[in-house]
């Protein structure tokens, strides 16, 4: 079987953008926000979440999904288009994607910071994929390599201030 990150990199492109079941869609951000809040500097809670390898795996998948959506949105945005309405909807898609990139990365960061289980699980994933560090995989590896920096940014904040997080994370992601 191919390593997880190789499979992540070859994820199909035609996912439903950000709009799945309406009800489900509305709960994504707040569920992530709750998980980030409750796991913040709380080792027992981090351990509960990290104890499920499937959860870590899916969280990583979701992160990559939104991360790619955000950057694909950026690229397509640089092409001039006359359809203003389309632009607005893309803008809003991108900001939803950025919000979800931030939240899922925030949660991954908390887990890696506080739970040894999560640390070794994610470490194993990045190790097994280092041999495949080219093509679409590179951005994911770089994103993972960025975890310590983002962890440091988050670690210094007791409250997940929306504005601060957006500025910092945006800068980080631009450099990845």
């Amino acid at each position: 079987m191919k390593p997880l990150l190789v499979r992540l990199a070859h994820m199909p492109h035609n996912f439903n953008r950000l709009h799945c079941v309406p009800g489900l869609n509305g709960t994504i951000d707040i569920t992530l926000r709750y998980l980030v809040t409750i796991s913040h500097d709380n080792i027992p809670m981090c351990d509960i979440l990290a104890s499920s390898p499937r959860f870590l795996h899916n969280l990583l998948r979701l992160f990559v999904l939104w991360y790619r959506l955000y950057f694909e949105g950026l690229e397509s945005h640089s092409v001039p288009t006359s359809k203003e309405q389309e632009d607005e909807s893309e803008d809003s898609d991108r900001s939803v994607a950025l919000e979800r990139v931030s939240l899922s990365l925030g949660l991954l960061t908390q887990l890696v910071k506080h739970s040894d289980v999560a640390k070794s699980a994610i470490g194993a994933i990045s190790e097994s994929s280092s041999r495949y560090a080219d093509g679409p995989l590179t951005c994911i590896c770089r994103a993972l390599a960025f975890l310590p920096l983002i962890r440091a940014l988050y670690g210094g904040m007791s409250v997940f201030g929306k504005d601060i997080r957006h500025i910092h994370l945006n800068k980080c992601l631009q450099q990845v």
């Binding site: 079987m1 996912f15 709750y34 409750i38 979701l62």
Partner: protein, 115 residues
């Protein structure tokens, strides 16, 4: 449902909620989240279940504002309930990728799971 919307409004106004209310919220969330159908298994989520999602969304919103008002959440009472909720929410998150990646379910390109 009505109660959760009123509470959401109150918490948005910056009123402090006491921990009894938080415990009740966690209990309510455990019930609601455990009743979410297996999204991939059912043919589709219909409009009726949008109601439950709205309730979950409200309760989580209040819970987040409650937790962010606390200096620390290490001393939370009824940690057991919170752990149950956390495990349920983790299962809920596990359902998302198949809902967000439309192609995945049919192609099976991504069907294997880490064990």
């Amino acid at each position: 449902m009505l109660a959760s919307e009123s509470l959401l409004r109150i918490s948005e106004l910056g009123q402090a909620l006491d921990s009894d209310i938080y415990d009740a919220l966690v209990g309510s969330l455990i019930t609601e989240v455990s009743h979410i159908p297996k999204l991939g298994a059912s043919p589709s989520i219909n409009e009726d279940s949008g109601h439950d999602f709205r309730h979950i969304q409200n309760c989580l919103g209040i819970a987040v504002s409650f937790l962010s008002q606390q200096a620390t959440n290490h001393t939370m009472e009824h940690a057991g309930d919170q752990e149950t909720l956390l495990a349920l929410l983790a299962q809920y998150v596990n359902l998302w990728p198949s809902q967000l990646v439309s192609h995945e379910a049919s192609s099976g390109a991504f069907s294997s799971h880490a064990s």
